[in-house]
Amino acid sequence: MKLSVRIVLAVLCAALIVSMPFFLSSPNLLSEAEMDIQMGGEEDDNSLDFGRLLFPSAMAEDAEGGHFDSEDIDVDEPTKLSIPESWVLPFDFTVPPEPDPDHFSENGYEDQSIRVRVETLRLFDSNVNVAYVEIASPSQLRTAIDNRDHPVSQIAKANNAVIAMNGDYYRKDSNNKFFEIRMTKALKVGKNLSKSFDTLVIDKNGDFHVFVLSDGLKDYKEKHMNDISNAFLFGPALVKDGEIVVRENSKYMYAPNGKDGRSAIGQTGPLSYVMVLVESHSKNSEGVTHAELAQIMYDLGCIQAYNLDGGNSAELIMQGPSPDVELLHYKGNHEANYRNQSDIVYFATAVPVEERK
């Protein structure tokens, strides 16, 4: 073989090897990239993209990520809490500041950015633990994922949660018809969304949007994908636009008409929420049905409310002033051990540690 040919081959080899750090980003498809592809987005013009050269039409659909005007919730009065712009937490998995030990009370927590009060009600022959939460900025409503699975208490502690509850089971399910987003990171954004499940979407204003049997979700996703902070697939939807979601002879999920431990989250107003944990499998708390839970959420003033994972998975936890002592810890099934979870929903303080007096 001629020397010139050998040189050309060597140069080609070197070029390919040197180019590797510019396009070999990850062994697996990055979820960030997957969302971009699902939305028909494009990479920067300078990036290595043979697809654009070969399939220009497939890449041309640009997502309409326009501004979102909340239509579902009538926003009348601003929250009483407010914080400087510089304190606002990012919509990502950054661990927020630790709660201030001096701001805990025996049943809650309050500082400049968050107000939490927990009480236990007796409803439907059950202990219904309710956390009323107000926050100053939408990103204080946060989620955390844990790829290795741990108890809710451990995930909450690792993320400096003021108050936390279990998320949904389906984050780990292999079904790609689901719509699962956590802190703007798309975990599952199937093109054909399941019509068997209700979906809860939380936007970057902190407003809830409930989609019964995912009806309307596809359109919403196409228009507002960039405005979504979190999306859950579990359900059922309990309250939608201020009305109880009624289901005759429901067969939704596990034992919809049976008495069981339940966890639910609802929005009562702008940046105001309730987290509800109903206890079961104990002498004085038998649990509730989905319909009863919907009634509870409605009575608590929810405009939108959604059922999360229940039974042994249901937990509501509030860290205490000391990092090793939990202030409150309720679980859905009194007879069960704590179950490892892959995600939580939680509320955090936005007050930076250095700003505390």
Binding site: R6, I17, P21, N28, L30, N46, G51, S174, K177
Partner: protein
Amino acid sequence: MKMWEEAPQTEIFGIPVYTFGLYCLVGALCAVVCIRILCGELKMKKGTAWVLSLASIVFGLVFSRLSYCIVRLIGDMIGGGGVLPVSFWFRLSTGGWSLYGMIFGVFIAARVTAAITKEPKRRLLDIVSCALPLAMAAERAGERLFEVFNISRSIPDGQFPANTFLAVHDAVYGDNYIATYDYCAVAAVILFLLLVFTLTRGRTREGDVWIMFMILAGAGGAILESLRYDSFMELSFVRIQQAAAAALLVWGVIAAGKRVNGDRKRLFTAAAISLPITIGAVIGIEFALDKTNLSHVLLYVLMVIFVAVPVVLGLKLLLGGREKGKEAA
């Protein structure tokens, strides 16, 4: 240039690059140097090393991507959530590569190189088989950068190898996990040394080292992939990477068997019979690992024993054939 923020990055001379890609660069560079040296040692025609290197990189990348995309496509079709557009297959920076696809691509590259240079294809397969473990070691070391991949089976508190260099310690939760990617990288380096030693000793038939690679890399992969817990390339409960490793082992044993005749046919029959038994046993052990409280150490010892049977028989077939060849000479 847009970089995906999710992927670990570093800067070289102020230019941001993907760290995983940097590991792959080092692996590819080492592999090319290895090919160059071995082609010289084995007195291949001038230029063969460059043709083989270029073909290996191109075919390795193409088949690696292709394998991932096909598995993803099948998974999407089974899942029913809609498939990713074909353009995704060509958007290389999105991530999505298969190690075993890369290995298969490099085998094809050796055959293409043989057709171009008229060198014996089995000898070229021997050479790339020596170089491959270097690329594999670097790639595996690169995978440990990703928290989402760096998930392996957990180690209960106080049990070996917790709190040793053989474990990954999770500081947030205080848990210990098996350091699978380190094991994979070390195993690949050991495999490289073994194969190079075998090839350069000068007593091998053409293709023996390639078959050894398939048997040993396949067996090692079948066990090491079991230690992972990161759901990478899964179809339902089937781990595609582990199945691909098993396929490599089966291919290696059959290739070894096809090289023998006469009295050693019985040994080949034994090796062939051991394959489905081993695969069945490994599947059973996998279920036991996931669904029972049996000791994981015990189950992995059992898995190693079962996998060792076709490996020993396969290598015996190779070794026997080699001795027979020597006698004839």
